[in-house]
Symmetry: C2
């Protein structure tokens, strides 16, 4: 089932709710949560909480609230986090390697993510064949066959700007459906592939604007 | 001078224009650029380019275009990137250390950024006193005095979620005016302090939503 017309803004709030519910699910004394309380903890207005969740079904009872574990499981299912998502990182330079280490530590310990970085790709022969925190570094030439073989559907692009579009094209050709682009450049993907950008330099450059008063 | 009512969306496009101009400034054959060409290269519609830039002054001539180096210098000035911006990273764990290495490599080689990570802070005694790619790791207890002493106005929060708000409060008290928050939690800052969030787990969780068809 797909919920066709739901805006990105709604989707972006679902992980915030999920985090609150994941935390609360460990507390045996909290079995129910009101939209008010969920909103405060997630930093979202309570009316918006109800509206966001209503897109996906009827999860709460008026005057009672939401069952914590039930809603958590539903949100995980909606976000496709109920089964393992295998991720490739292309580019094992400073940022790619760094994010691999971070993700390994962060997601391996916390099953609520279900995100698993299973492969790195690089074209430096000195890196190919090595491992970063147990994650193998493959040759960029093998990208397409490995992505297919390992059933990777999500990838992170951490290559230099001038290689970002080619990398995206190869990932898409191999069946990747969701890309997070760290390269500070605009890339294009065909319809049906979802692209997000995490351009950290751009964030810092924008912040600089607000420094002078 | 401040341009009060300019939206964040406009500000976020300025670094995209700046990148194009930085690249072109190295090419002795390109002294002028049309808004059309600037737009295509930056991935922004030409009408929007003109509109965005018009917020800050009259930089181009009708039918002639923009002088590349002049507009680059103006954009750097507008973004406060015409003088060095000193950045602190709080948290020298996997993500903080990783970003320090990345930033060191990326920004040190490229003077067009003018961003300089000058300090890391951590409360692990095993890390305090060490360096990461030449950047000293100070005790988190020294945060406020060091930030003042080193005249740091921008900071990156890379601590665990439960320490993020306290960290932000201390940074603000020490005079930091712009914060990039990597911790996967909502934090609050007073008016006059600008906050951006780079929640990479949230990006991946959102992307997961689009995986199922």
């Amino acid at each position: 089932m797909r919920w066709k017309k739901i805006s990105d803004a709604v989707i972006r709030r679902l992980p915030l709710y999920l985090r609150v519910l994941d935390e609360l699910a460990n507390d045996p004394n909290t079995q129910l949560i009101s939209s008010q309380d969920l909103g405060v903890r997630a930093g979202v207005g309570p009316a918006l909480v109800r509206k966001d969740l209503a897109w996906f079904g009827e999860f709460g009872k008026q005057g009672v609230g939401y069952e914590v574990k039930f809603l958590r499981d539903e949100l995980r299912r909606i976000l496709n986090l109920d089964s393992e998502i295998k991720i490739a990182i292309v580019g094992a330079g400073s940022l790619g390697a760094a994010f691999a280490r971070y993700a390994h530590k962060r997601y391996a310990d916390d099953s609520s993510f279900n995100l698993n970085v299973v492969a790195l790709f690089d074209n430096d022969p000195g890196k190919v064949g090595t491992e970063i925190d147990g994650i193998p570094v493959y040759s960029a030439n093998e990208m397409q066959e490995r992505v297919r073989e390992l059933q990777i559907h999500m990838a992170i692009i951490a290559v230099p700007s001038e290689q970002a579009q080619t990398t995206a094209d190869r990932l898409v050709a191999a069946g990747v459906k969701a890309i997070l682009n760290f390269a500070p450049v605009k890339i294009n993907v065909p319809e049906g592939v979802h692209l997000a950008s995490a351009d950290l330099s751009l964030e810092l450059q924008c912040l600089a604007y607000y420094l002078r008063d």
